[in-house]
Symmetry: C2
Subunit: 249 residues, 2 copies
């Protein structure tokens, strides 16, 4: 199996495209590939190609795009993970795991109990960092899709968007069993796979009562069994369980 | 909610029992509880009690066991995770996660591609370490059961045991989609929950062809979708998916 690289400009057989800086460095400095080496490239939007290294310069690598390959199939349910921002390295792990298990997009959410602000995330260039982690995870797990990590938003703004959807997509809010009166088990949900779904997962400290109330108006609140799950394991568990329930795993 | 401690000797209301050393230290040095403090204790075999700190000595804590409480319910399927031994900290994470998601026992397995031997595991007192991690995870996730971490065994010995079972329990071997001819998706499995099941997960380097062949004789080989999953995430994903399939999550 040839090494895989993210080449966002690859569109069709015959294209000559440059690799992004990080990918070029991986190719030249880590794997030490030379002109003529056979590789694979994926464009992050679902297309994967055979390719050949065409030019290796000081700061740039160009590749010649070849035949379209069979990419790893994507889930038929487009799942957006709306994740309460966790502490630094835990959030990194969640991005990596969510891409591996197959989400379509990641929406970081600043909640009352997130220990960050929109400003501090912007100052720290966190979105760019998370997007790089998404690329890296897609390379490792074999996906030809790189899910976008969206700009962080406040909880209220995410709730408002869920309210505004003309055809509301199913939104599921993961809560502690004791958190709300009308909590469903995941197994109570319809097994018919929707076309898209949003899964809301809270930060380490969980949801506030106010967030639970606002969330209840735009989502179904579900629990994942009776045990207390670590915050950074919850997205992987929730999405695995949902994909299994919808027969997409 | 009162702090929870593992008190393996707690059997019934009225017992006065000593806490194990680590638990005593947690109570006195970390939480700084005093005589008369209300706590909870669980005996690791499914019983959880209210309790009161009765005596705090230099190196020992005794507690008076009170009323039996409702423990977090256990899954009705007794799942044994037979896990190819991973590199040090990854194996620790797997033990922690497996206890959190609800396994009944953990069987570490030395496979051809495990980078350890039975001797090196014994010298490093790894079983004791893993058992302590299991206790710690049970405390955090709220289980009153501490799953035993069994003595490490060679792959062939685990296969022989699966063969010997008079009433064979379902054994599932997690494999890469390309690994074997007759690979099932988890969704192809019967949804009727068995009483017990063994889930075999390989180490970082996967199974050898010989192990795949031996495993096929005593287990059903299943895949978890088309993506390449990190070895240390695979047990959590596999067990979550199975519990969901059997409606136990």
């Amino acid at each position: 199996m040839h090494a895989r690289f993210h080449a966002p400009d690859a569109e069709r057989d015959g294209d000559i495209v440059s690799l992004p800086d990080e990918e070029a460095q991986h190719l030249t400095r880590v794997l030490r590939l030379k002109i003529g080496a056979s590789i694979r490239v994926f464009n992050g939007r679902g297309a994967e190609f055979d390719a050949v290294v065409e030019h290796v310069g000081k700061n740039a690598v160009q590749v010649r795009v070849g035949h379209l390959c069979n990419a790893v199939p994507e889930s038929r349910v487009a799942v957006t993970l709306a994740q309460g921002v966790l502490k630094a390295d835990k959030m990194d792990d969640v991005i990596r795991d969510a891409v591996m298990i197959g989400v379509t997009a990641i929406q970081p959410v600043v909640t009352a109990r997130s220990e960050v602000t929109l400003q501090s995330l912007a100052r720290g260039h966190r979105q760019e960092r998370w997007q790089r982690i998404a690329v890296s995870s897609a390379k490792q797990c074999g996906r030809a899709v790189v899910p976008p990590v969206l700009e962080s938003r406040l909880f209220d703004s995410v709730v408002a968007s869920l309210q505004d959807l003309a055809l509301p997509q199913p939104a599921l809010m993961c809560v502690e069993p004791s958190a709300a009166a009308e909590v469903l088990s995941l197994t109570d949900l319809d097994t018919t796979a929707p076309r898209q779904a949003t899964v809301l997962v809270g930060p380490e400290g969980g949801w506030t009562p106010e967030e639970l109330e606002k969330g209840a108006a735009v989502s179904r609140q579900v629990t994942l069994g009776a045990r207390t799950l670590r915050a950074d394991a919850m997205p992987l568990i929730a999405i695995t369980a949902l994909l299994m329930h919808w027969r997409e795993l």
